[in-house]
Amino acid sequence: MTFAWVVSSLDLSRHEAEEILAGGILPGRRDLESVLELTAFMRASGEVEPPPPMRADLIGLLGDPPSPS
């Protein structure tokens, strides 16, 4: 545990960390905006990524070709 970590974690409560990870907002905490933006970017990356094409072996498992999207 480094001194720098102690200092930065003192300004971030566990409740705030949970809020950030749950996609909440923290009004009045401009100092946490960069972390909020990073987690929002991470969340969005999961939401917008298209499903990769199904490969032949997976299609074969289904026993029926996938219907076009």
Partner: protein, 204 residues
């Protein structure tokens, strides 16, 4: 698993005979239909979750996220009849498989430790509007490198909470940890990320 319905185009009129079931739309109902052998229900599940799984694997720097995602869903399909649970439970189960596949992939690819120190974000920071520049920074793929400053445990927790959208309890079960330990890890992870982001934002 045997197909229970003919393969037809979605826009084609339904054939005469017994009514052909339409795949349900909620994930829970899709899982139930897929367990009964409906391939189209499984395809819908794939479309619903495969992007998120691929993203999760990509954030973990898997060697072939798309291929691994296919492997994950092949395992999901093979083991589907063993799954018992609700919709959140299914999501958690899928990401448990994805997580274990990622670990296997990491072991295989091994022996390359995660990249440390090469964040490469500074080069892409502009000098204009703070919010625009911050957004540009986040839009850059190199921002993915930021998570490499986290310990493996912290990275697992953050990616499972944010990218996979799992609850603390789900993550605790998946990682075989107590909920309190997961909360401590996520707290430290965000403090670490904040510490690394501060100088980048201050430099804008």
């Amino acid at each position: 698993m045997q197909s229970t319905e003919p393969s037809t185009e979605p826009t084609r009129p339904a054939p005469a005979g017994p009514p052909r079931p339409t795949p349900p739309t909620s994930l829970g109902a899709l899982v139930a239909a897929a367990k009964l052998g409906c391939p189209r229900a499984f395809e819908h599940i794939y479309r619903e979750l495969a992007g998120q799984v691929a993203s999760y694997l990509r954030w973990h720097r898997a060697t072939d996220p798309d291929g691994l995602t296919n492997d994950v869903f092949a395992q999901v399909h093979r083991n589907l009849d063993r799954f018992e649970g609700d919709e959140p439970g299914f999501r958690s189960w899928v990401f448990t498989i994805a997580h274990h596949r990622m670990i296997d992939d990491r072991r295989r690819a091994n022996r390359q430790p995660p990249v440390q120190g090469e964040m490469g974000v500074d080069d892409d920071l502009g000098c204009g509007d703070v919010e625009e520049d911050a957004f540009a920074m986040l839009a850059n793929d190199s921002v993915r490198e930021l998570v490499s400053v986290l310990s493996p445990d912290q990275r697992d927790v953050v990616l499972l909470r944010v990218v996979a959208d799992l609850s603390v309890d789900d993550v605790a079960r998946l990682l075989d940890k107590r909920a309190g330990a997961v909360k401590a890890l996520q707290h430290r992870a965000l403090a670490t990320l904040r510490r690394h982001l501060e100088p980048l934002v201050a430099a804008v």
